[in-house]
């Protein structure tokens, strides 16, 4: 199964998979872990991609997990469903007994991800144990598992944000419109511009204003920040990325700012 969020990294992994199996169709389904707090542009893009590839889509819904009482939602103005995705993902893996899950994580994104293997072993609880990983030599990957365990495979582990954009340009890969400069109502929170949406509203002392922005990563609307940019084409984005002095997660992910090891903790529980 291949995880597809509609973001640029998963769009690249999807393209690689399509090319690897061509002229056969994808021999596995595509899964979207849906927090219910999506950019409408991203959902529209996801559905269009799946249809054009004649692929099978599985949606693992966080809303459903909340409704069924499997998880409890965070409260407060900083509430996010980011962490809740883990349960939905693991349930979906267990339900269809997937042996292997392809993801678009990159080592350069975040310091805990930098230590992740290309073939990352998960035990029967979906847990990642960073101190007990299989050595990975040459291109001899070890996918062997026992029943109930699975492997997360990250084919673009060694790609950087710049590699992604250059590949998007070379391959003319289509992406959701939110990656490109557009007009949007935003407010400032923790040094980031957050999009106003049905899921996230400014508090009384946060001022709403319209600005020309784009998103550098695309995730849950409640924790993905925008920034002011006029880069409207892939070429302009490449120029912008080559000039930037801030990493993409530093610029746009509220979820990694909570603690130095926030990502490591989520990953150990089975997060992407």
């Amino acid at each position: 199964m291949l995880l597809f969020s509609g973001g640029k990294d998963s769009a690249v992994v999807l393209r690689l998979a399509v090319k690897a199996f061509w002229p056969a169709r994808l021999p596995f389904p595509v899964m979207h872990v849906d927090t219910g707090h999506n950019f409408p542009e991203v959902i529209e893009f996801r559905d269009r991609m799946i249809e054009s590839l004649e692929a099978q889509l599985i949606v693992a819904s966080v809303q459903e997990a909340i409704d069924q009482g499997r998880v409890v939602e965070e409260t407060g103005p900083r509430a996010s469903r980011n962490r809740l995705q883990t349960e939905s993902l693991l349930s979906a893996i267990e339900k269809d007994r997937f042996d292997m899950v392809f993801g678009g994580a990159r080592r350069d994104e975040e310091k805990a991800r930098a230590k992740e293997r290309v073939f990352s072993f998960r035990d029967e609880f979906g847990q990642w144990d960073p101190k007990n990983q299989r050595p990975e030599l040459w291109s001899l990957y070890n996918p062997r598992i026992n029943v109930g365990e699975h492997i997360r495979a990250f084919p673009i582990s060694n790609w950087t944000e710049m590699d992604i954009w250059q590949y998007v340009e070379d391959e003319s890969i289509e992406l959701p419109s939110v990656y490109f400069a557009h007009q949007r109502k935003v407010f400032e929170r923790d040094g980031m511009l957050m999009a106003e949406s049905p899921y996230l509203r400014p508090t009384d002392d946060e001022e709403l204003f319209e600005s020309t922005v784009r998103f550098r990563t695309v995730g849950d609307m409640t924790c993905t920040g925008a920034f002011e940019s006029t880069a409207a084409t892939v070429r302009e984005i490449i120029d912008e990325v080559s000039a930037t002095r801030i990493t993409e997660r530093g610029a746009s992910r509220a979820d990694d700012r909570t603690a130095e090891a926030a990502m490591e903790d989520r990953k150990k529980e089975g997060y992407f």
């Binding site: 399509v18 090319k19 690897a20 199996f21 061509w22 002229p23 056969a24 169709r25 080592r107 350069d108 310091k111 805990a112 991800r113 930098a114 230590k115 072993f121 960073p130 101190k131 990983q133 299989r134 050595p135 990975e136 030599l137 040459w138 291109s139 001899l140 070890n142 062997r144 598992i145 026992n146 060694n158 950087t160 710049m162 590699d163 930037t244 002095r245 801030i246 990493t247 530093g250 610029a251 130095e260 090891a261 490591e264």
Partner: protein
């Protein structure tokens, strides 16, 4: 753009972190928020300098203990090349990590402190780079500022290293006198060492020719996957997907498939973006053949007059990576070589190699974690392999412990048992 893989190894004292930090810093590859985080963390730990090692130490335990446990990967690019730098700790208990980091490297960066000269670990790191077949080795003679930028001292060290390297299998050896701390000869040429006319470290990394690191002579195509599209527009299509592990392949070339021995001719080299006139390492392609013969995953496609060894008996150097049971004669493991799995028994442990002195211990009865030795394996089925020196892809394998499924051994084939 060309991608270059670098393996670097060393301990805190030899200035390795400073060198990497300097390389990334001067090549403007550290982001502001990363630098802020490192400055923050350094302050909290009460160090009075910015500890650039904190950039690569990703896990909580690593930061708490101030050590690198695992291989840390850093990515940087210049207008000429892209680099993946695998940074591993240098102590002997991390031999496993060094072996891993070196397995895919084009260039090994090794540091010596100009004051101390060659230490035991310099020899160990150089030996491991040579064992893993890293084609280019760059010895950085560091802390030149502390020996008054002395050309004489540098020459002395270079001679000593050359003498030692004669016992190793090193294809391309380079030397650079540097001061990582002051930045001399890292990115910018040093004004303090006008006697040195060679390239800086970054210039070397940008210029070392890696194009011929791949084997372009022996055609080797391990079949990874058989593609049957089941689409009306490709109804009779049968393609063999894989990565070219050696040689140049062209449509019209006569080929033979192992183990069946059936021969055919390459009809097409196809990709999603169209057919190709030629395929070479490290391209991933799909081959179609003129004849409808039986080919499956794990089979090897090669030329009739240039075939790999086909044998159940394999001689190899093996690096043991398991924290669990040691390798002992008689033990059975799963083995993965190219795209093929099988089972193998250790028939014989011929010797254990001391990675510091290169002394061979013929009396050894087992290999524990981080130990390296020469073994003879007997596999349940023939494998199709070359000597590791000739081809890193068809000459390497891993051993996997059945039951736990852990990767426990890394093997470099020296030949087939006579």
């Amino acid at each position: 753009m060309e991608l270059v893989r670098i393996a670097t190894t060393g301990s805190v004292d030899d200035g390795k972190s400073t060198l990497i930090g300097r390389l990334l810093f001067d090549a403007k590859q550290i982001f502001q928020d990363q630098l802020d985080a490192v400055e923050d963390a350094s302050r909290r730990r009460g160090t009075d300098y910015v500890d650039l090692a904190l950039l690569t130490d990703g896990l909580r335990a690593e930061r708490e203990q101030g050590i690198t446990i695992d291989v840390a990967y850093r990515y940087f690019a210049t207008p000429k090349r892209k680099f993946v730098l695998a940074d591993t700790p240098g102590h002997i208990q991390y031999t496993r990590n060094m072996v891993t980091g070196s397995s895919t490297a084009n260039i090994a960066l090794i540091l010596v402190d100009a004051r101390n000269g060659m230490l035991e670990q310099t020899r160990r790191h150089s030996f491991l780079a040579s064992l893993l077949g890293v084609p280019h080795l760059v010895l950085c003679v560091n802390k030149m500022d502390l020996v008054d930028w002395s050309e004489e001292r540098y020459d002395e060290l270079a001679d000593e290293f050359r003498e030692f390297a004669r016992r190793l299998d090193i294809y391309d050896l380079r030397f650079v006198p540097v001061s990582a701390l002051k930045g001399d000869n890292i990115v910018e040429p040093s004004a303090n060492m006008p006697w040195y006319h060679g390239p800086t470290v970054l210039e070397l990394l940008e210029e070392i020719h890696i194009g011929s690191d791949e084997n372009l002579i022996d055609v080797r195509f391990p079949v990874q996957y058989v593609i049957r599209p089941h689409r009306h527009d490709f109804s009779d299509y049968r393609g063999y997907a894989g990565k070219v592990s050696g040689g140049l392949m062209k449509p019209g070339d006569e080929v033979v498939v192992l183990p069946s021995g059936f021969s055919s001719t390459i009809k097409n080299i196809s990709t999603h973006d169209g057919d190709l006139d030629e395929a070479a390492p490290p391209m991933s392609v799909v081959l179609t053949l003129e004849n409808d013969i039986d080919v499956s995953r794990g089979d090897m496609i090669c030329r009739p007059h240039n075939q790999p060894h086909a044998s159940q008996d394999i001689d190899a150097m093996v690096a043991w990576m398991s924290e669990g049971p040691p390798l002992r004669p008689g033990a059975k493991y799963a083995i993965k070589h190219t795209t093929k799995w099988g089972r193998a028994m250790v028939n014989e442990l011929q010797y254990r190699l001391d990675v510091n002195s290169l002394h061979r211990d013929d009396a050894a009865t087992e290999l524990s974690l981080n130990e390296i030795g020469r073994i003879r394996l007997r596999a349940t089925t023939p494998f199709f392999f070359d000597e590791y020196r000739r081809n890193r892809e068809t000459g390497s394998f891993i051993l996997v412990e059945e039951g736990t499924n852990n990767t426990v051994g890394a093997g470099m084939i020296t030949g087939q048992t006579a």
